[in-house]
Amino acid sequence: MSIDVDIVAERRNSGLDRVHVGNSSFPTIGSNEESKEVGLKVESVYRDEQSRWIVAVAENRDKKAFKRLFNYFAPRIKGFCQNNGSTSDRAEEVVQEAFVNIWRKANLFDPKKASAGAWIFAIARNSRIDLIRKENRPEADTTDPFFEQNEPESPLAVLETERKSKLLRDFVRDLPAEQQQVLKLAFFEEKPHSEVAEELGIPLGTVKSRIRLAFKRIRSEFGEI
């Protein structure tokens, strides 16, 4: 494997790391010989087509890509919200708010840090908090001078994120039913773990240990996190 790779990692004014794919033949990823051995085709850097759609929205304000994102995620966001007991109308309001935010924030999407699905989940979650609960959603901001930065990631992190995200999806599907149930109540119904215990009629300690078991498996499966 020795195909040259054209990836330029560029630090933008926003302070966010972004990966650019071009036809110029910049030297490779990283500085050691080993990383030069890693072969990638340019078009495969964003292998995940959903990530490519978000990047197309960010960089080219591409409405076709935006429509594709909408066709895939909008019905799922609606279904996701209706799990929470939202009416069809309310769920559609959340969908609209989420997609306006996807358009606005596409330039903040960083495929090294999150898969397309996780990023859109976070936008939909925040839109739901904003519209239904009418609360702010406090979040750590990477551009904050008092944000303690991670070590800079290699451009290859984008592949690692995609790979782990796909594995994680299968992994969540295969979790034991009782662990999956606790996660679903948390994410679909936005139930704090204390209410999950009430709803299932089981002790709080049992809910905590199910959460910890699920996380332990996620940890061991996906390395130190």
Binding site: K63, F80, S115, A122, P138, P145, R169, E190, P192, I225
Partner: protein
């Protein structure tokens, strides 16, 4: 920054799923601003959210939804981070993250510090959350806070200085999670005032009668 006290997995799950209300979320986000360890788990939990979203049953949408979204795009420019930051010199001195200073007046001289007695002062953060209260606390160096317990949970994130109590020793970036009837007596380290964010869901219960009588005045 050496962080030794992290957030419990249950609390982090509540934050990542969106279940946690605003006041608690400020404390979680303040800790995440400082702690790459908890951030990594949070990122994984958002991946779990993403996979549950991707696997959820699609529901048909009304015909005009996409058109409505397109109509709103012209007014929606591109986002530039989370907005302009106004970290005052004061907040900078204590390393207070933006997710907290966003709730404070830009001019540190105008911060509505209120004395709680015993040398402790607070600024209550204005949130839309009626179930819990977030407050910035300033406790003088070397001060022993009276023994107290909590009706419910308490989250405390330290920005500057530190304290020790029955549960351990806490410094900048650490988060302390206290549950139910835990009684504790924080003792602030010598040499530096302790600046921290404390979130509680119910009035504190002080053990001493004298302090309990003073509590309505103290206001926490």
């Amino acid at each position: 920054m050496k962080i030794t006290h992290h957030l419990s997995e249950e609390f982090l799950l509540d934050y990542s799923s969106g279940a946690l209300s605003e006041a608690w979320s400020i404390a979680v986000a303040a800790h995440l601003s400082k702690c790459s360890h908890c951030r990594a788990l949070h990122a994984k939990l958002e991946e779990v959210g993403g996979s549950l979203l991707s696997d959820s049953t699609p529901e048909g949408l009304s015909d005009d939804i996409f058109e409505n979204v397109l109509d709103r795009l012209d007014e929606a420019g591109a986002a530039t981070g989370n907005g302009v930051r106004h970290n005052s010199e004061w907040a900078s001195r204590y390393g207070i993250p933006a997710v907290v200073t966003d709730y404070l007046a830009a001019d540190a001289n105008k911060l509505p510090w209120k004395s709680l007695g015993l040398g402790v002062s607070q600024v209550v953060l204005e949130t839309k959350d009626s179930s819990a209260t977030a407050r910035l606390l300033k406790i003088p160096a070397g001060k022993k806070v009276p023994h107290h317990s909590h009706k419910g949970r308490e989250l405390t994130v330290i920005f500057s200085g530190g304290f020790t109590d029955e549960t351990g020793s806490y410094g900048p970036g650490d988060i302390q999670e206290i549950h139910g009837s835990t009684e504790h007596q924080p003792w602030v380290r010598e040499g530096e005032d302790c600046i921290c964010l404390a979130v509680t869901e119910a009035p504190l219960k002080f053990s001493s009668v004298a302090v309990r009588l003073a509590q309505p005045l103290i206001g926490i």
